[in-house]
């Protein structure tokens, strides 16, 4: 009775309070699972990497463990030639890979964006390596580069390359060989993203341009490319970070060899921590890699004026 009266008297306030009380806690409840997972399995590991980078920490040599100050970093920048070698290779790898993937991906997206007979099948086939893993890509290209039974043997029959050594074990051919293998899988990624973005170009713009007598090249340059700019900037950045960090392909395809020729910085870090158990030093290397990545990303976004002039 009293309850009913209380509700009846001021009908609006309690209801409004109920309606707003739930949403105030609700968003936090909804992001809690994701937030906790990321705190526990990304934020905490990152912090512990920063912490270990200031330590001597090697489970196999416990007597040397302890606070090291900036010793690890001094070592990296002044004495560690392998750090500079692998960093240079990483840079070369990322720039060549992302540049070529973008170029071919863009061309491919423009082609399969046309209407032509067999488009659906063509798209499916051209995009299919996207789904293939780094390890499987390695397996496939190990078969192709096999010096006895691979396709390179048949190329040698035609006078391209030589018999005997696999392209993957020759220091002069391993770089292009690995690049091609990774392109095979990487181009579809760009093609898919750019094709998706091409769907939203207004057809009216092309029509207007055509009425004005603009050539197809001019239409591409003045309509298509500006429209794609943000998507290209974002996808190249994400891809560059991904190519820098990803070790699946090179780890299984070349193992960083021959003679350390294809060791990227992350591969070097993995070797330092997994094989040499030098966790402290590996953590310092990780910190440096992280800072370099962050710095390059910010510079890249600034230089490309991402999301800027279009508004």
């Amino acid at each position: 009775m009293a309850q009913a009266a209380a509700v009846a008297k001021p009908p609006a306030p309690p209801r409004r309070r109920r309606a707003s009380a739930t949403p105030r806690r609700l968003p936090y409840l909804l992001i809690a699972p994701a937030g906790l997972l990321m705190l526990g399995f990304i934020a905490y590991p990152v912090i512990s990497v920063f912490y270990y980078s200031l330590q001597n920490y090697n489970p196999t040599k416990p007597w040397r463990n302890g606070y090291a100050g900036f010793d690890n970093f001094v070592q990296i920048f002044t004495k560690d030639t392998q750090f500079w070698d692998t960093l240079t290779f990483s840079a070369k790898w990322v720039v060549v890979e992302v540049g070529l993937q973008l170029l071919f991906g863009l061309a491919l997206a423009l082609i399969v964006n046309q209407t032509f007979v067999g488009r659906a099948v063509g798209r499916a086939l051209v995009f299919s390596p996207w789904a293939v893993s780094g390890v499987l890509t390695s397996a496939i290209w190990v078969l192709l580069y096999n010096s006895q039974t691979g396709i390179t043997r048949y190329l040698a029959d035609l006078g391209i390359g030589s018999y005997g050594t696999s392209w993957l074990s020759d220091t002069s051919t391993v770089f292009p060989a690995a690049i091609v293998a990774d392109l095979w899988r990487g181009v579809p990624f760009f093609a898919i993203l750019i094709l998706a973005d091409l769907q939203s170009v207004s057809k009216d713009l092309y029509e207007a341009a055509e009425v004005d007598g603009a050539s197809r090249l001019k239409q591409f340059w003045h309509i298509t490319l500006p429209h794609l700019k943000d998507a290209i900037v974002l996808s190249t950045l994400l891809r560059a970070v991904w190519e820098f960090n990803n070790v699946d392909l090179l780890y299984t395809l070349t193992g960083g060899g021959p003679a350390g020729e294809t060791t990227t910085l992350p591969l070097y870090i993995a070797n330092t921590s997994v094989d040499a158990h030098n966790f402290g030093y590996a953590s310092a290397l990780t910190t440096v890699a992280f800072v370099i990545l962050l710095f390059c990303s910010i510079v890249y976004l600034r230089l490309s004026k991402f999301g800027g002039d279009q508004k």
């Binding site: 992001i31 082609i111 499916a124 086939l125 299919s128 039974t149 396709i151 998706a196 992350p266 921590s273």
Partner: protein, 295 residues
């Protein structure tokens, strides 16, 4: 009078003339060979590697024939039974499906919060999501290993599922919140007025519209977990717990590589993702273009 009538038919005539041109923009007038020639060249580059692995998987060991004839399935039987690919396959399916379910559910909840609410830490949370994209999972192997060792989850598939989910989450959540933002909020409000609570309204009104996006995000998570190699390699040392990519790597790093077995293992690794891919290919492009975060 006459001058007034005269332009009218002309305008009528010009309307239908312009419409077909609207349907078929200038791009469509590209000469056919400009399409088919580069496409065929690229298709060769794409398909020869696939053909090559199929060839090795199907022809008898030691054969140098360029067609898989006489055909044999010995390599498959050998890899599946002797090299434990049957077990690996089972483990990979478990990891893939569990990652898919976990990623989609957690990202759906978070994505909904980001799309539909303004709350105090939203900006910071979004920024954190973006930052995770720069955190290399491969470089966190050691601390992650220690965490899972403390949780006594080393050698359990759960460790891999959690690690894969965590690294899939940020992008999935950003994409899903984009999809949800594309569904007009008024639809949900209309359902509330009709007496649905927030959850029912979401389930009945919003969820069906999210289907293409969720398919894209979910299959992305599955393919990623199915393909990823490093976490499984590090966290699962027991051979009975390992996944297909680890099995492939073992075949590849053997002293004398059994090429037929490697090829057959590769085909086994490829089949599920190819099926998923064939199924989602169409959704992928619409899904990505709908989820694009703009402005």
């Amino acid at each position: 009078m006459i001058t007034e009538i005269a332009p009218a038919p002309e305008r009528v005539a010009s309307e239908p003339a312009r419409r077909p041109r609207g349907k078929r923009p200038a791009w469509d007038e590209v000469p056919r060979w400009h399409i088919y020639l580069p496409l065929s060249v690229y298709l060769l580059f794409t398909l020869i590697p696939f053909y090559w692995i199929l060839l090795f998987a199907l022809r008898p060991a030691g054969s140098t024939s360029l067609v898989p004839w006489p055909m044999t399935f010995d390599h498959f039987g050998k890899v599946w039974n002797e090299r434990a690919f049957g077990t690996y396959f089972q483990n990979s399916v478990l990891v893939g499906v569990a990652t898919l379910v976990m990623t989609t559910l957690v990202a759906l909840a978070g994505g909904y919060a980001l799309a539909r609410f303004d709350f105090r830490i939203k900006k910071a949370f979004m920024l954190a999501l973006l930052c995770t994209q720069f955190v290399p999972g491969a470089l966190l192997l050691v601390p992650l290993f220690e965490i899972f060792a403390n949780l006594r989850m080393i050698n359990s598939l759960a460790s891999v599922v959690i690690a894969e989910t965590v690294f899939q989450l940020p992008l999935s959540m950003i994409l899903i919140s984009g999809f949800i933002r594309n569904v007009p909020f008024s639809l949900e409000e209309a359902a509330w007025v009709d007496g649905c609570n927030r959850f029912t309204a979401f389930r009945i009104v919003v969820l069906p519209l999210l289907r293409p996006g969720l398919i894209a995000v979910g299959s992305f998570a599955f393919v990623h977990a199915w393909n990823h190699f490093l976490f499984a390699l590090m966290f699962l040392s027991d051979q009975g717990k390992q996944t297909i990519p680890v099995g492939l790597n073992t075949l590849m790093s053997a002293d004398s590589v059994d090429l037929g077995a490697l090829a057959a293992g590769g085909i086994i690794a490829a089949v599920p993702v190819v099926i998923v891919f064939a199924f989602i290919q169409k959704w992928l492009i619409t899904g990505f273009s709908a989820g694009a975060v703009k402005g």
